[in-house]
Symmetry: C2
Subunit: 341 residues, 2 copies
Amino acid sequence: MTLKELSDLLGLSPTTVSRALNGYPEVSEATRKKVAAAARAHGYAPNTRARALATGRAMAIGHVIPISAKHEMVNPIFADFTAGAGEVYSRNGYDMLMSVVSDDDEEQAYRSFATKRNVDGLIIHAPSLNDGRIPFLNDLGLPYVVHGRSSNATAPYAWVDVNNTRAFQRATELLLDLGHRRIALLNGLEHMDFAARRRAGYEAALVSRGITPDSSLMFSGEMTEAQGHDLTRSLLARPDRPTAILVSSIIMAIGVRRGIEELGLTLGRDVSLITYDDDLSYFRNGSDIPVYTATRSSVREAGRRAAQMLIDIINGKDSPTELLLEAELTLGMSTGPARRD
Amino acid sequence: MTLKELSDLLGLSPTTVSRALNGYPEVSEATRKKVAAAARAHGYAPNTRARALATGRAMAIGHVIPISAKHEMVNPIFADFTAGAGEVYSRNGYDMLMSVVSDDDEEQAYRSFATKRNVDGLIIHAPSLNDGRIPFLNDLGLPYVVHGRSSNATAPYAWVDVNNTRAFQRATELLLDLGHRRIALLNGLEHMDFAARRRAGYEAALVSRGITPDSSLMFSGEMTEAQGHDLTRSLLARPDRPTAILVSSIIMAIGVRRGIEELGLTLGRDVSLITYDDDLSYFRNGSDIPVYTATRSSVREAGRRAAQMLIDIINGKDSPTELLLEAELTLGMSTGPARRD
DNA sequence: TGGGGTATTCAAAGCGCTTTGGATAATTTG
DNA sequence: CAAATTATCCAAAGCGCTTTGAATACCCCA
């Protein structure tokens, strides 16, 4: 069913039908009702492609999902971020276009979005410290919002981020308050902006208590369960082993727990653990009492906010283009006072 | 840069430029080269929307991501399935359109895809036993491939599935071989087709060894970590507690492990566990020796195969439209002989 | 009763591409 | 060397919609 067919059916011009459907004022209430009824009855919906061509707006947002070529790893937070963003898109009539791309040719994917003109804006994931995509995208001229920030970026850009520094500073302070002095950090890859900020928070807390950060207690890598396990095992095998561990992802924390328990130690008593928690829907941190003490911020909510911000930008609203969310520190069962051995 | 601009630049007609770019034979090699070079130099790529309108093909595939309204849960396997499918789409010039939708109005989402004509085909996720979407989609007339199957479906449909029955039958047999007699099943929601098949496999194995399935050992629900934990705790509190547990998801298995270890028991020694493993990229089951004994089948590969099948269907190739993948049973450290108490 | 608004409706152009049906130039053939 | 192919190229139509500019019908008030 096309506009033409529908208008013929109604004995009206396509112009009028189009206007009636799109809520323009220059059409009488009577015909608007008739048109709406007929459209519903015949299951008419405008062809997106034709409409996009005519209006110059694709009514779609692009997401580029980079796959780590080395590890074939999909970031587990994408699903939830996407779910949050998707809710907002649906509500506003936007589609979500995903492009899965090996991280080598990510830039190519953005360029292709721009030249093929099939999206009105982009969401950028996982920015690194000095992310080349930002100047690149500023040139491209497609509106975009970054999930995260890129330190050292010279040009301004729109972003939604969590206060990673603060979250890790507070977590570290909590551990210090509990008497821990040797605190390990299992972090994400440090060229990632979020990881750098988290380390900064961790170190700041230590320094402010007069403790010199010990680089042999800091690790960065892919945030997998296996990685968490292996690092924990090697940490706990050391004579000067840490009494507490700070972890950048709940998935990694699961591996840490496994490593601890394999040694017959008890989490929260023998070793304390605080993790960053993205509040993933398939891995909620305990229903009543949180399993892990955690700094938590919903990545799904971040998705919603980023999507809304992007839509506002596309529509020329001049709402704020920077949003810093605070993570909340929730006490679970994985922390306890440092034991003196 | 539009086709017109590019053709003006070259002193050629849009027709010729279009043909040159699309590999039609009626254009000389010389001009084809010139056109290709100019296109590259000016970063020209055809406007997707215009092309789609002209050809009648959207060059996009739709995925509907249903969100469980009750639990706000995103299925954790989507990310990996999507990654696999996305690879194939990119290779074939297709975009992936995602629609996040509360599971109440999923049907509406499909209808909207069809009437708005912005995709050439659909991937259907998580079919239930007697899935209403199949007759519905057969009427709609959009090609689609189901990830999974729907028992009792009367009409034929294209699908890619894992042999769930066989996988759980084999897993159960392994546990029986190890001397286990009381084996619990922590399954997904049983209106889901995969869950029903898994239970069938489990029961068949028991019956063939003369054991009557005990419904008090079978559970079905959302496959979350918390659920795995809670069910395990209550199972192990019983006097006639099971010596082995069969689990439908590795995420749930993590919760089971936590429950077991909280009681001071050891996985693989005191309680055996076999889990279904989708080989999620962020949760690989051990790098060298698998942590869990598992029936494994890569959901990412399933994504690839489903995508390829759909593209073949769209292009009118008459390749097979049913694909049953076998899961492999890998021995890890979570199984051991039944202990006699 | 007639001129100036106002409320409705419509015809036609245009979005950027593909594709049909020629046209023209180059080449081959009898 | 004229006629028939063949190789290249192009003008124009059309995909289904929105939107500009104009037409028509209706109403009001002097």
